[in-house]
């Protein structure tokens, strides 16, 4: 193993160790935030595939997140469907919704796509709010049962944290696999130049729809995880500002950098949840952060983060070369 590989491995081992040991050492409130971070990360990764790789910016991720949450929650409440089947159903329904949205919105891109997805988010929210017979409207869905693992109920923050982390790991691996597959290269080609991509034989229409469906499925799973964790969902949990939050996390992460997106989700979810009690002031700070962050770091933290293992490696190498010189 070379030095840079070794530092890279130890870097990842350190991060993994912190993630696994965190709930044993941290107080309950922080574990609670950790669950949110893991759930949000799944939705943000989906958005990263769509936005960073396929170049389609969406402000409608909360709609799919909500569709997943409502599907799984309503199945559990009305038909006693267990969590695991509800989760699959949430993924499927969100994916179909993504397909239904993805196909017609192919005609628009860039800012027009942003606007279309905002409209879709608003319509889905209005539906959740007003179709009281299906979604219970502004009452929200109450008493969503926690998942069962065999005969064990996963309801404590600590156990749910591990469940959410397992799902996050699964979707992280899936995301990375997709990115390294042929499809991933199609997506990247699309975001660089749609015209050029179509000239080298990329089926741009199909790739875009697939990216949309993938991002919706990721959001749907995150939504189901959220619903069964908090046990109560309300249409306002899936409003436009949630979409804005997801997009912010993805963009600050650098969209193409998976590690960057995870770190941005950690920082933004962590800080906003932790500072919840000081409401307005927190939001003013958050707004300023968005503004100045975008002005001074338009490409997010991804590019910096990718250089950390390399920087550590360089540091070691500088030391060892110094040793050689002095000897």
């Amino acid at each position: 193993m070379s030095v840079s590989q070794m530092t890279k491995t130890s870097y990842y081992a350190l991060v993994l160790g912190i993630i696994l040991l965190f709930p044993i050492l941290a107080p309950n409130y922080l574990i609670h935030i950790g669950v949110y971070v893991a759930i949000n990360s799944i939705a943000v990764l989906g958005l990263g595939i769509l936005g960073g790789f396929a170049g389609q910016t969406s402000l409608g991720q909360a709609a799919f997140y909500g569709i997943g949450a409502y599907t799984s929650a309503l199945l559990a409440i009305n038909y006693n469907v267990p969590f695991w089947i509800g989760l699959v159903a949430a993924a499927v329904v969100a994916g179909v919704a993504g397909l239904l949205v993805g196909v017609p919105t192919l005609r628009v891109s860039g800012l027009y796509l942003v606007m279309t997805t905002i409209g879709i988010n608003e319509i889905v929210w209005l539906f959740m709010m007003n179709s009281t017979t299906v979604t219970h409207g502004s009452q929200g869905v109450l008493q969503i049962p926690p998942p069962m693992l065999g005969s064990i109920t996963v309801s404590s923050g600590r156990s749910y944290y591990y469940l959410a982390i397992v799902f996050l790991a699964m979707f992280l691996v899936l995301t990375l696999r997709i990115m390294r597959s042929r499809l991933g290269w199609y997506f990247r080609a699309l975001s660089d130049s749609e015209i050029a991509a179509s000239m080298v034989g990329v089926d741009t229409v199909r790739s875009k729809v697939i990216a949309f469906v993938i991002s919706a499925v990721w959001a749907g799973v995150a939504g189901a995880l959220y619903a069964h964790y908090v046990g109560y969902i309300h249409p306002d949990n899936f409003k436009l500002d949630v979409s804005v939050m997801f997009l912010t996390m993805a963009v600050f992460g650098g969209q193409r950098s998976v590690a960057g997106m995870l770190l941005a989700t950690l920082v933004l979810t962590g800080s906003t949840e932790y500072l919840r009690n000081i409401g307005e002031y927190r939001m003013v700070a958050y707004g300023l952060f968005l503004l100045w962050g975008m002005i001074y770091m338009p490409n997010g933290i991804g590019p910096y983060l990718d250089r950390i293992p390399q920087l550590i490696g360089n540091w070691f190498r500088a030391k060892s070369s110094k040793g050689v010189e002095s000897a």
Binding site: Y112, M115, G119, T248, V284, G287, M294
Partner: protein, 288 residues
């Protein structure tokens, strides 16, 4: 019922058009969508409230004062926020202006946590028009909107500065070689877009309560109005605003008020999918 709904629709539409004009002006100049526009409208409404609740002014003096204050507010916003974003890419601009909106909304929320009631600046009388009872403020809304549009049109067509703004909108580089101060023109564009939104905020104040969370919906509707009419066309935005306002009020009256917002967004999506450049907008060909 129909004349009543139509009249209200036109007044609502006039406000959408005023706020939407800000979107159109910025889009024409920078090819960007300014997502803080709805919250600027809300902040303008509170600025108007601060003025009319302290000074007892007549309607015309109030409008003139809010025009000056709005322009100043626009210059300040440009200095603090927009100036660094003249060359930003789409996503950066969208998120940064969303950030500006969040700051405005919550900054106002700290000062005015409860909805505030405006003093009746624009009168309270009701007029009868073929079965419709229309309150005096509605006339002010529509009248001022019309005057503003005419004034803007004259400004863009006949004044040197207005023509410079159009030149910058058409091609920034060429405009700068012609001796136009491009940065000053962009600053003017932002200031004007904030001013029209602030005037809209003052006009709507006496009709509804002003509250810190009213900006988001109006901003989205105004943007929809701009898209429906054609986002790079000023008359298109006015037309889009009126169409949206009327359809929204009709659907609230005849279908269901719960879904009146859904109607607006359904029209928006249909328009984006069928004719993304809007009713009166021009198509911009893609350069390869």
């Amino acid at each position: 019922m129909l004349p009543q709904l139509l009249a209200q629709g036109i007044a609502t539409g006039a406000v959408y058009a005023l706020v939407g004009l800000g979107f159109t002006l910025v889009f024409r100049t920078l090819n960007q969508v300014i997502f803080s526009q709805g919250h600027v409208f809300m902040a303008g409404s509170f600025l108007g409230y601060a003025i009319v609740s302290r000074l007892h002014l007549g309607p015309i003096a109030a409008i003139l004062l809010i025009t000056a204050a709005g322009f100043l507010f626009g210059v300040v916003l440009d200095r603090l926020a927009f100036r660094k974003l003249y060359d930003a890419d789409h996503m950066t601009f969208v998120i940064a202006t969303i950030g500006v909106g969040i700051v405005l909304q919550n900054g106002i929320r700290i000062v005015y946590p409860e909805p505030v009631k405006f003093p009746p600046v624009f009168g309270t009388e009701l007029y009868n028009f073929g079965g419709a009872r229309i309150a005096e403020p509605y006339f002010w809304v529509v009248g001022v909107a019309l005057l503003l549009v005419i004034a803007l049109h004259l400004f863009f067509t006949y004044t040197r500065q207005g023509r410079a703004l159009r030149a910058v909108a058409a091609d920034r580089v060429v405009a700068s070689t012609m001796g136009i101060n491009v940065n000053l023109s962009i600053r003017m564009t932002f200031a004007i877009s904030v001013t029209v939104a602030a005037i809209g905020g003052l006009l709507i104040g006496p009709l509804y309560y002003a509250s810190f969370d009213m900006g988001e919906m109006v901003g989205l509707k105004a943007f929809s109005a701009a898209i429906i009419g054609g986002i790079n066309s000023v008359p298109g935005t006015i037309l889009g605003g009126v169409i949206l306002g009327v359809l929204e009020n009709l659907s609230a009256g005849y279908i269901s008020s719960d879904y009146k917002d859904a109607v607006a967004f359904a029209i928006l999506i249909a328009m984006l999918l069928v004719r993304p450049h809007g009713l009166l907008g021009r198509v911009r060909p893609t350069k390869v």
